[in-house]
């Protein structure tokens, strides 16, 4: 059941992106940034947590989930460490994803050659 909810919620989030892509002049990079910012705001409001409880990876895999992780990490860290959590919590919570993207990006660039256009 969780797989099914992950499918349609994740698909729906991507569909919102597709509508923005086709019906506005926004570039993919801007849409990606909008999704992360939206996820961070919804995370701060506590709404995105409910979506994750319902849809699991359907909510965490889209980039709104990355934004949520930033805000969620900040709030969690404020609870345990106080005000410094405003600065440390976000990157702590997303460190794995960021480090993986940077490291695999580097390795990929070393191993693979650019495609000829």
């Amino acid at each position: 059941m969780q797989l099914f909810h992950a499918f349609w919620v994740g698909g729906l989030i991507c569909t919102i992106g597709q509508i923005l892509l086709q019906r506005t002049k926004l570039t993919p990079a801007r849409i990606v940034v909008i999704f992360v910012v939206a996820g961070a705001i919804l995370g701060g409001l506590g709404w995105y947590q409910q979506l994750i409880d319902f849809a699991g990876a359907g909510a965490t895999v889209p980039l709104t989930g990355f934004g949520y992780s930033l805000s969620h990490g900040v709030m969690q860290e404020i609870e345990t460490a106080g005000a410094i959590g405003i600065l440390t919590g976000g990157l702590k919570a997303t460190a794995g994803g960021i480090a993986a993207a940077v490291l695999f990006g580097f390795i990929g660039a070393v191993l693979f050659q650019p495609k000829l256009k």
Partner: protein, 152 residues
């Protein structure tokens, strides 16, 4: 030379004739199917990691790392770009799309050197995402801190 009102209208008509009309419905269906499938893959991995005894947060991080790894390989092989042509936002919005942006720009610019080519262009997509994500989450944090201070 000033374009007349009539000229502008003609131009718009010409543009709409020449540009391919992408069908919103089929674009959305493809984005839905591919985006949803990537999330199902993520959910399968999440279940797998949770069954290994990891808590939700750790398991989620492992899911992100695994998907980013797959994305890096398929980007290097050129497969992810083909998926992107078909799926549009269905391949951009998931975390695999983020990884694709990072890896693709790193590969593209390595010919400009390892420091200012690969090293800096790696962050072409990651930079804005991290910057604006951090700004937003820090603001959330400031508000959250003030509210809990005043309220608690």
């Amino acid at each position: 030379m000033n374009m007349t009102e009539q000229g502008k209208q003609d131009y718009k008509l010409r543009v709409s004739e020449v540009c391919p009309q992408t069908n919103l419905l089929s674009g959305c269906a493809k984005a839905f199917l591919v985006g949803g499938s990537i999330c199902v893959l993520g959910q399968g991995l999440l279940n797998f990691y949770q069954n290994m005894g990891l808590d939700m947060q750790t398991a989620s991080t492992w899911v992100s790392v695994t998907l980013i790894f797959f994305s890096a390989i398929t980007t290097g092989l050129g497969w992810y770009d083909n998926l992107g042509k078909f799926a549009g936002a269905g391949s951009i919005i998931p975390i695999t799309g983020f990884a694709n942006g990072v890896v693709a720009s790193a590969i593209e610019f390595k010919k400009e050197g390892f420091i200012l080519g690969l090293g800096s262009k790696l962050f072409t997509i990651a930079g804005p995402v991290i910057l604006y994500g951090l700004i937003t989450s820090s603001l959330v944090g400031v508000i959250y801190y003030l509210v809990t201070m005043l309220g608690g």
